[in-house]
């Protein structure tokens, strides 16, 4: 753990795709135990930033520092092994595996794991997410919302220090969304660090302790949600100015 409790930090992160600069020198640090909401209009570079911070993209400029060690340029599975978990905008489950197997795989790939112990943890995780009754179903047969819950569960099996959730509420039934929010809050209270990207302002404002706003590849606001939501630059960005 580095001093001042910073868990992961993107410093001057720049990422270009062809002629488009998706991230333009973004500074983004997350402290241990924080719950950060990351919002911004479409195309503002939120997902790109998450992809850089979880090792799925190598930044063209700047660096990523995880617990004081520079990790940018390393492949995604190294990030995962160091305690960074994530979900995807469109869920990426193992569709031809059962719900239980989806949780077993990340558990078993941890060093020194036993099948018995992993199965016990996976079942506890399914209980926690209210998916226990679906254990033997193939993941591809779950509803969109259940898939999002299962993807969260798969992250938890890694026992991560930080979870990046990319649009967890998109296309999820309001009832399941409340369920998801409740689980995130419980996990946060238990000490997990979260970064949540979403368009659903209401949900984001409900859960985040800190709000970061991006527009056109830059960070335009960063602070407590009450302050950020009245910020003129943010209002302008959302009004398309």
């Amino acid at each position: 753990m580095s001093e001042n409790g910073i868990l992961i930090e993107g410093s001057r992160v720049t990422k270009r795709f062809g002629g488009i600069t998706a991230n333009d020198g973004v500074d983004f640090a997350v402290a241990e135990g924080d719950l950060v909401g990351l919002i911004g209009p479409n195309g503002s570079g939120k997902t790109t930033l998450i992809n850089v911070l979880t090792g799925h993209l190598t930044p063209d400029g700047g660096k990523v520092i995880l617990r004081g060690r520079q990790v940018s340029g390393k492949p995604a599975h190294i990030y995962a092994a160091t305690g960074v978990a994530r979900t995807f905008q469109s869920t990426q489950l193992f569709g031809r595996m059962t719900v239980l197997e989806n949780l077993m795989v990340p558990g078993l790939t941890r060093p020194r794991s036993s099948a018995h112990e992993v199965a016990r943890r996976a079942r506890a995780c399914l209980e926690f997410l209210n998916l226990a009754h679906l254990e033997q179903l193939y993941a591809k047969n779950l509803s969109g919302g259940q898939q999002k819950l299962l993807e969260l569960g798969r992250c938890l099996m890694l026992d991560p220090a930080i979870l990046f959730l990319d649009e967890p509420f998109a296309g999820v039934h309001p009832h399941l969304r409340d369920e998801l929010i409740k689980r995130i809050e419980e996990l946060h209270r238990a000490g997990r660090t979260f970064v949540v990207v979403d368009h659903d302002m209401e949900s984001i404002l409900r859960i985040s302790r800190r709000l970061v706003v991006m527009a056109r590849g830059r960070k335009i606001a960063d602070g407590p949600p009450e302050a950020v939501r009245t910020d003129q630059a943010v209002l302008a960005a959302y009004a398309g100015l």
């Binding site: 492949p75 995604a76 599975h77 031809r96 795989v105 941890r110």
Partner: protein, 301 residues
């Protein structure tokens, strides 16, 4: 045509089918992980046969341990080839990955075949039998080598299935085949499994080469037909289905054997055998465009 001839053809077809399955299951494994069809697989099978031959003749090792040495050698060689030739497949900078895979494996096939002619010579070589002699089942006579090849092939296939379904590595392999992205975020290194799948596929082909050598002899071009057969089997079984390719392999070997038995003109029957395999493929694809065990979505990316 007598019943005896029919039975012999059926028995021979079953053995050839198991050997086909052993080759095709490797092509399937490589396809499901690397998303390319390895057109050099038959040539890895050829190398496996020669490798076993030289381990037997130069070092005096008995045939069965020689087969395992050959499997280990081809596993290693395949990983080196994969690292040298196939890494551009995993780079975002490569735009036409399918075409790259096609051209590179085709090129590799020609390269290996011609190297084999230079290194091993053009004349057929025959290693000693695994178990010499024949077995009589009534009027039916089957050589011990064929029985051994069939049984050893089945044991290897069962071992592969056990590995894929009952071990952590097998599960991880399955995870990578379903979604590389998702595998990476749960801490699996997908690159390692590219090498591993290519190596395991080559080792199984090597075993097939070593098993078939005492039956049909070794020749540098012995991989040409299996290349095509394996491709037919992989499509027949539904691309990406391991079980499908095993069943399709045995079915193709068997139907080729019986076709030869039933063909009205025995002097021409053998020449048409391979055409028959493709005919079976065409008929199956008309009724089941995804193959016998195909999934609608080949790729889950």
């Amino acid at each position: 045509m007598s019943w005896d001839y029919l039975f012999i053809q059926a028995a021979n077809g079953a053995v050839i089918g198991i050997i086909y399955a052993l080759i095709a299951v490797g092509v399937t494994l490589i396809f499901s992980i690397l998303k390319i069809v390895n057109f050099a697989h038959g040539d890895l099978y050829m190398l496996g046969g020669y490798c076993a031959y030289y381990v037997i003749t130069l070092f005096g090792v008995p045939p069965l341990p020689a087969m395992f040495v050959s499997m280990a050698a081809l596993f290693t060689i395949a990983i080196i080839l994969e690292r040298l030739l196939l890494t551009p497949l995993y780079s975002d900078a490569t735009e036409r990955k399918d075409e790259y895979g096609l051209i590179v494996t085709f090129g590799l096939a020609f390269f290996l075949r011609n190297i084999a002619i230079i290194a091993f010579g053009p004349f057929p070589l025959k290693p000693p039998s695994f178990i010499s002699g024949v077995q009589h089942f009534g009027n039916l006579i089957v050589t011990n080598d064929r029985l051994f090849a069939g049984s050893a092939g089945i044991v290897l296939i069962l071992a592969l299935l056990y590995f894929m379904h009952r071990t952590i590595w097998g599960q991880a392999l399955d995870a990578v085949s379903q979604s590389r992205e998702a595998a990476a975020i749960v801490g699996i290194n997908p690159r390692r499994f590219n090498s591993f799948a290519f190596g395991v596929g080559a080792a199984l082909a090597a075993a097939a080469g070593a098993l078939i050598a005492p039956i049909f002899s070794l020749a540098p071009d012995m991989g040409v037909l299996p290349n095509i057969q394996a491709y037919v089997i992989v499509i027949l079984g539904g691309m990406g289905s391991v079980l499908g390719s095993i069943i399709a392999g045995i079915a193709l070997g068997e139907s080729e054997g019986l076709f030869t038995a039933f063909f009205p003109d025995p002097t021409r029957a053998l020449a048409y055998t391979n055409a028959f395999g493709v005919l079976v493929l065409m008929i199956v694809l008309i009724f089941r465009p995804n193959g016998l065990f195909g999934r609608r979505h080949l790729r889950m990316e």
